[in-house]
Symmetry: C2
Subunit: 278 residues, 2 copies
Amino acid sequence: MHIDGHTGLIAHIGFPTHTFKSPLIYNPYFESAGINALVVPMGCRPAHFPALLRSFFALENAVGALITMPHKVTTLELLDEASVAVQVAGSCNAVRRDADGRLVGDMFDGEGFVRGLRRKGLPLPGARALVVGCGGVGCAIAASLAGAGVGTLALFDPRTASAEALATRLRQHHPALQVWVGSKDPQGFDLVVNATPLGMNADDPLPLDVDRLSPGSFVGEVVMKAEMTPLLEAARARGCTVQVGTDMLFEQIPAYLSFFGLPTTTPEVLRAGARLAG
Amino acid sequence: MHIDGHTGLIAHIGFPTHTFKSPLIYNPYFESAGINALVVPMGCRPAHFPALLRSFFALENAVGALITMPHKVTTLELLDEASVAVQVAGSCNAVRRDADGRLVGDMFDGEGFVRGLRRKGLPLPGARALVVGCGGVGCAIAASLAGAGVGTLALFDPRTASAEALATRLRQHHPALQVWVGSKDPQGFDLVVNATPLGMNADDPLPLDVDRLSPGSFVGEVVMKAEMTPLLEAARARGCTVQVGTDMLFEQIPAYLSFFGLPTTTPEVLRAGARLAG
């Protein structure tokens, strides 16, 4: 890559950093597209994060920040402006500085998931969706599904308070949405989402009862460890359409690029150029 | 370059950044040598510098910082430990974090200049040197010449107070050194250094009276705009040995690399790999 005194910086802030994928996707794209920008991995512990974010955005060549674990929630307190997705999700993974120097935050995990669904032809307005797992990524997906106009959103989390808190935020920002809490029975849903980590380890149980999946359902996954998780294998065997975990990652990058004011591209170009094996 | 979650960061902090050369030298070297480190240009205005430096060194993957204009002097207040070169020069261009998290500073502008002289065969212990210009770079060169054991150091600056202040610091840290202030007559010196900006513009006067240069003198230059400045041309015409301005830049990088604990190399390798035309 050509890095010089005109290079714009995108801070990729999290801790630990060893599993970071974004530098391996964005930087090859910037290089191939001739964009003078650079994703810089920054390993930052929680105590240092607020000061780092402010200092970074005081730089003349700061373009934006990709926020990841464990900072997605604490970022909210540092923003001057938060998108509805951020407010509903309760977390933020994208920050930029506007023309007045204010910090503006958005959340693209759910947006990436939803873009993937749309491109696979799933009609979202009025759809009935079940989200199993209401941690950070589940909240983000629920927020974006609500933003995309689903009619019914069923939420399940073994920690019922997490699901209830998400339901309250959803009802506040999306009063027309039907929100249910408490069951993970997938029968009859147009869309079923695993937003739990179940599937990362070989001996994990399935996140939901696959025998109850309706054959016409669409099943999406957030686990990225393998392309086809046991859940997706089972869903496909029942005739469901599926979305793999890494789609959420690659589909959200064009949204990030637009948010940062950079020339954007397609998930296919990003996948083809990514150096994830490196 | 391969940038991932294990990449070590070297912040290159200054303002403005558009003339930065270091990313164009270090990063190609890191790439060719397989060193997972990255020089990141950071455009930082003075008001934001102290907070940025602290935040940067709180990062888990911070390796070091290259400090440039306008922060080389203010860095001193932020250090826990300063080398003798920093104390004499009154400025700092290299910072790292030690094992206890303390910020340690050094100054390599003068070191680069002195390494260049040594490699050209100039014996420095006991030598008589004249430094014309006692701004930041002149102070740094004087500090390193003193550290290298010159016997006599003559200082000149049209702002006499600058030369006097430098002389005071030199006498404090190098009591055996003879320090003279006030003349820029180059006659009889083993080494004559232009540390003024004269030579950057086509219509600049010469920084000193070249007719008074002794033919056996060594003449060094800090101006990098052209390899052979009018001073160096005139000095060479009189039979002097010369050192061009960019030697200071390339000769100091191996010192920086060692300071940062990275595998080091030669100025020749760095010059050959640099993408300064890019």
